[in-house]
C-alpha cells in the first residue's frame, strides 16, 4: 500500500520531463543530444539567459516569468523573424519548458513581457555537435498540403453526412423503420470520421449527438441517439414516439446537420489540429466505442469504431512524410499499429457492416482494446513530432 502511494506521488513529478525526453528521443533516437537546460528568467524589463550558446540538437529552455505581466519566449532564426519555437502565455510566477531542435547557426532569443512588441532580445549561438539534423526544408510544404487536403476531406464528409441524413430522416418519418435502421450506422460513419471537428461546435454537438446519460436536467433530448432509442426501443416500459414527435425530431436533425455542413465549408486547419485530432479520435474509440456505450440501443459501435479509425488514418497520412523524415521509427510503429488495429476490426465484419457489440466476447473486446492502446500511445507523439522545429 505504501509503495503505491509513493509511486503515485513520484509519478507526478516526472511528466514534465517525460514530455521533453520523449520529444528528444522520438526525433533523434540515435543520439543523446540534450545539451542540458538553458534557464531563462523573463521579468518585465529583462530577459536573463543562463547560457549564450548550446550544442546543436535538442535544446531545452526552462522559461520562468519573474515579472508581473504575462510573457512569451521565442527562439528566432538569425534574421530575427523565423520562429523556431515559442512558449506562450506564461503567467507571472510560472515556469514552462520549451524544447526545440536547433541546427548549428546563429539565433535570437526574445522574451516578450506583456506579449507585445519585439521583445527583449539576445543573441544565441548553436555550435555543431556533429549530430546530423533532420531535414525540414520540405516540411512546411507537406504540412500546408496536408491541412488543405484535410479541409477538403471534412467538407466532403459533411456533405455526404447531410445527403445520407436526409434519406435516413425521410425513412424514419415515413415509418419505414427497417430502412431507417439499415441507414443509421452507415450514415453516422460520416459524422464519426470527422468527430473532433463536429464536436468543436459546442452548440451543435449536444443537440445532434447527446446520449441519454449526458442530459442535463430539463434538457430536451434530440438528435441521433433519441431516434436510435425509438428505432431500437427497450423491451419494456418504453413509450414509442408519435408521428408528430417523429416529424419534429427528423426535421430538426436535418436542419442541424445542414448548419454543420454549412459551417465546415470554410474551415481551415493547422498541423497541430491534425496531430491532436488523430489522437482524439482514438480517445473516442477508447472511451465510448470499446465499451459499447455510444450506441446503447442499436449496438452498432463497431461502425463508429471503423469510422473514427478512418478519420485518424486520414489525418496521419497527411503528415506522415514529415513524421517519416523526422522520426522514422515512430512512422514505422504507427504504420504497423494502424494495420494491426484494422485487421483486428476486420475479423468482426459481417456483410457490409460489423457484428453488434453484444455479440463480441469479452476476449474479443479485450483484443480490440489492446490494439487501441497500442496505437493510441505512439499516436500521442504525433503532434509534438509534427510541430517540432517548425
Amino acid at each position: 500500500m505504501d509503495l503505491s502511494v509513493r509511486t503515485g506521488v513520484v509519478a507526478v513529478a516526472v511528466p514534465l520531463l517525460v514530455v521533453t525526453v520523449a520529444a528528444c528521443q522520438s526525433s533523434t533516437p540515435s543520439q543523446s543530444a540534450d545539451t542540458g537546460v538553458v534557464s531563462v528568467a523573463s521579468s518585465d524589463e529583462s530577459c536573463e539567459v543562463s547560457a549564450a550558446d548550446a550544442a546543436s540538437g535538442v535544446v531545452r529552455f526552462a522559461v520562468s516569468n519573474t515579472g508581473s505581466q504575462v510573457t512569451e519566449f521565442y527562439v528566432l532564426g538569425e534574421d530575427g523573424l523565423r520562429v523556431m519555437g515559442e512558449a506562450e502565455n506564461i503567467a507571472p510566477g510560472l515556469t514552462r519548458d520549451l524544447v526545440v531542435q536547433l541546427p548549428p547557426g546563429s539565433y535570437q532569443l526574445a522574451c516578450k513581457p506583456g506579449m507585445t512588441g519585439d521583445g527583449i532580445r539576445s543573441d544565441f549561438a548553436v555550435n555543431d555537435s556533429g549530430v546530423p539534423m533532420p531535414t525540414s526544408d520540405d516540411d512546411s510544404a507537406v504540412i500546408e498540403r496536408a491541412t488543405a487536403n484535410y479541409a477538403a476531406y471534412v467538407r466532403d464528409q459533411s456533405d455526404q453526412l447531410l445527403k445520407d441524413t436526409k434519406e435516413f430522416a425521410a425513412a424514419y418519418q415515413a415509418g419505414d423503420d427497417d430502412t431507417a435502421r439499415a441507414l443509421y450506422a452507415p450514415t453516422r460513419m460520416h459524422w464519426e470520421r470527422i468527430e473532433p471537428v463536429a464536436e468543436s461546435f459546442g452548440d451543435l454537438d449536444p443537440i445532434l449527438d447527446a446520449r441519454e446519460a449526458d442530459l442535463e436536467p430539463g434538457q430536451k433530448w434530440t438528435g441521433w441517439h433519441r431516434i436510435e432509442k425509438d428505432l431500437w426501443p427497450p423491451r419494456s416500459g418504453y413509450q414509442p414516439l408519435t408521428q408528430k414527435q417523429r416529424d419534429k425530431l427528423a426535421e430538426q436533425l436535418v436542419t442541424d446537420t445542414t448548419t454543420l455542413a454549412d459551417r465546415t465549408q470554410d474551415l481551415t486547419f493547422t498541423a497541430d489540429q491534425l496531430g491532436n485530432g488523430a489522437k482524439e479520435l482514438l480517445d473516442e474509440v477508447a472511451t465510448g466505442k470499446i465499451t459499447g456505450e455510444e450506441e446503447a440501443w442499436s449496438h452498432t459501435d463497431l461502425w463508429d469504431f471503423q469510422a473514427n479509425l478512418e478519420g485518424a488514418q486520414v489525418m496521419y497520412a497527411g503528415v506522415r512524410p514529415v513524421v517519416a523524415d523526422r522520426n522514422p521509427k515512430l512512422a514505422a510503429t504507427l504504420d504497423e499499429e494502424f494495420a494491426n488495429i484494422q485487421s483486428a476490426l476486420d475479423r468482426h465484419r459481417r456483410g457490409d457492416g460489423f457484428v453488434l457489440y453484444p455479440d463480441l466476447t469479452p476476449k474479443q473486446i479485450r483484443e480490440l482494446a489492446t490494439s487501441v492502446d497500442a496505437l493510441g500511445e505512439p499516436l500521442s507523439a504525433l503532434t509534438v513530432t509534427v510541430l517540432q522545429g517548425r
Binding site: 500500500m1 503505491s4 502511494v5 503515485g8 506521488v9 509519478a11 507526478v12 511528466p15 514534465l16 514530455v19 516569468n65 504575462v70 512569451e72 506562450e88 502565455n89 503567467a91 507571472p92 510566477g93 510560472l94 515556469t95 506579449m115 446519460a213 449526458d214 442530459l215 442535463e216 436536467p217 434538457q219 491532436n276 489522437k279 480517445d283 477508447a286 472511451t287 470499446i290 469479452p362 473486446i365 479485450r366 482494446a369 489492446t370 492502446d373 493510441g376 500511445e377 499516436l379 500521442s380 503532434t383 509534438v384
Partner: protein, 428 residues
C-alpha cells in the same frame, strides 16, 4: 482541528501495542488483564512513529476536520432489523468499539486472544501489534434510514429527517450504479495504516451481523485533499493538485460552511454535517496520452506548481480575466478550477476529504482507478449540488472522468463519554 489525545486518557481495555509487548517478552500464555499494568507502563514511554491518536469524543465527530490520514476504508450498510431498540443498541456497541479502536485498543477487554480458547475471538486481531495509527471512525445516516423505498418509517424517525437529506439528483453524464450507491448507514475509517482502517470497519460489520448487511465498500489510498492548513496539497491520479480553495480547519470557515448550527433545521443535527460521496473513475490511459498543454488547460492550473494559470503560487487568487496572446482568458472558463472556484459558486466552499483509489485493472487491461470523493458541508442544496451541477454540465475534465456512484449521508454530531452516535436523534 483536533490534537492527538494526551497520554493517560482513560483506558479500559488492553492496548494492542501493549499486548505485543507482552508477547514480545515471550510470555505467550500471560495475556491476562494482569499483564496490562506492565504493558501500560511501557506505553507511557515514547510513542513509536505513527502512533498518533485523535480524540474520539467531542462536539463533532472525528475524521472530518482531522488532518487527513493516508488511508481510507469506507462501507455503506443497510439495516436489516425493524426494531428501534436494536438499532440504538447497535449504535451503542459501535460507539464503544470505535472509541476503543481509535485509542489503539481492542474492541473488547478480552480482545483477540484473551477469551475462551474454544470461542471465536472478540477482536478479529489483524491490528495486533499496530499502533493507533491516527485512526478515526465516522458514521453517517442515509436518507433510507428515515424511510425506506416503500416509505416505511421503521424506526419512528421519519419526522426528524433533515429536509436537505434526499438522494442526490441525476447530474449530466452520471453513470451511477445503484449497487455501489446509497446505504442506510455509512462508516468512514481513516488511518495512517491501511490495515488499521480495514480492521475497524471489519469489526463494526461483524458487530452488525444480524442487524445490518453490507451494501458496498471502498478502499482508498493516498489522500487527495487536505483538511489541515499545515499539509501540502497532495496530487490526484491525474498528477495535479486540486481543491486548493476549499476549507481546512479554520473555525471561522467550519462554523460557516461545515457544521450544522443549532438554529439550522433540524436541531438534533447541530454540530453534525452532511456528506456527499461520489466514486469518480478516471480514464487514466487516455489522460496519460494527453499533452501537458491540454492537461493544464483542463485543470486551469500548472502541473508543476499547482498555481493558477494566471500565475503566482498555488494559493494565490486566480485572475479569471487575465488574457493570453489570443485574447482569451489564461484560465479557461470551463476549466475545472474556474467552475469549482468559490467565486463561481456564490462564495460557497466545502470540506473536501477525497482519496485516490484503485480497484486493480478492468477486463480491458486498464487501470481501474480514480478519485473517491468525499465532501462535507452544512447544506447540500447550497453547496455540493449546485457545484456538481455546474461541473457536470461543462467541466473540461468530464472527458476524462466517469461518475460511478452517488450517495449522501447526514453525519450526526460528536459523542460525549457515555453517549452514543446519533443519541440526539433517538433521545428526542
Amino acid at each position: 482541528m483536533r490534537e492527538p489525545a494526551e497520554e493517560g486518557t482513560a483506558r479500559t481495555g488492553l492496548s494492542r501495542r501493549a499486548l505485543l509487548g507482552v508477547f514480545g517478552a515471550g510470555a505467550a500464555t500471560a495475556a491476562g488483564i494482569g499483564a496490562a499494568g506492565v504493558a501500560l507502563a511501557r506505553e507511557a514511554g515514547e510513542a513509536p512513529a505513527g502512533d498518533r491518536r485523535f480524540d474520539f469524543f467531542g462536539a463533532h465527530q472525528a475524521g472530518i476536520t482531522t488532518p487527513m490520514q493516508n488511508n481510507l476504508y469506507f462501507a455503506a450498510v443497510d439495516v436489516t432489523t425493524d426494531s428501534r431498540e436494536d438499532l440504538i443498541d447497535l449504535l451503542r456497541q459501535w460507539t464503544e468499539a470505535a472509541a476503543a479502536m481509535t485509542q489503539g485498543r481492542e474492541i473488547d477487554a478480552l480482545g483477540a486472544l484473551g477469551g475462551s480458547y474454544d470461542a471465536a475471538p472478540e477482536d478479529t486481531g489483524e491490528a495486533l501489534g499496530l499502533p493507533a495509527s491516527g485512526l478515526t471512525v465516522t458514521i453517517g445516516f442515509g436518507p433510507t434510514l428515515f424511510g425506506d423505498q416503500r416509505g416505511r418509517d421503521r424506526f419512528g424517525i421519519a419526522a426528524d429527517r433533515p429536509p436537505g437529506l434526499r438522494e442526490l439528483p441525476h447530474f449530466p453524464s452520471d453513470m451511477t450504479d445503484p449497487a455501489i450507491s446509497g446505504g442506510d448507514l455509512c462508516i468512514q475509517t481513516c488511518a495512517d495504516d491501511a490495515q488499521v482502517a480495514v480492521h475497524a470497519v471489519r469489526n463494526l460489520i461483524r458487530i452488525g451481523f444480524g442487524r445490518t448487511t453490507v451494501r458496498w465498500s471502498q478502499a482508498g489510498f493516498g489522500k487527495s485533499s487536505v483538511t489541515s492548513p499545515d499539509d501540502a496539497t497532495p496530487r490526484n491520479l491525474f498528477g495535479f493538485k486540486d481543491g486548493t480553495a476549499n476549507i481546512t480547519g479554520d473555525p471561522a470557515d467550519t462554523d460557516r460552511f461545515l457544521w450544522v448550527a443549532p438554529t439550522d433545521d433540524p436541531a438534533w443535527m447541530a454540530g453534525g454535517t452532511y456528506l456527499a460521496v461520489r466514486k469518480i473513475r478516471m480514464t487514466i490511459e487516455t489522460w496519460d496520452r494527453t499533452s501537458l498543454r491540454e492537461q493544464e488547460a483542463v485543470f486551469g492550473r500548472s502541473k508543476r506548481e499547482g498555481s493558477p494559470l494566471s500565475g503566482g503560487g498555488e494559493f494565490d487568487t486566480p485572475d479569471f480575466t487575465m488574457a493570453g496572446s489570443d485574447g482569451q482568458p489564461l484560465i479557461a472558463a470551463d476549466s475545472h478550477m474556474a467552475l469549482a472556484h468559490p467565486s463561481a459558486n456564490d462564495g460557497q466552499r466545502i470540506l473536501r476529504r477525497a482519496y485516490n483509489y484503485t480497484d486493480g485493472s478492468d477486463g480491458l487491461g486498464r487501470l481501474d482507478a480514480g478519485l473517491f470523493f468525499l465532501a462535507f458541508q452544512r447544506d447540500l442544496d447550497k453547496q455540493f449540488i449546485p457545484l456538481q451541477m455546474r461541473l457536470s454540465k461543462s467541466d473540461l475534465m468530464n472527458e476524462y472522468v466517469r461518475y460511478l456512484s452517488s450517495s449522501v449521508f447526514a453525519v450526526p454530531p460528536g459523542v460525549q463519554p457515555g453517549g452514543y452516535w446519533g443519541q440526539s436523534l433517538f433521545d428526542l
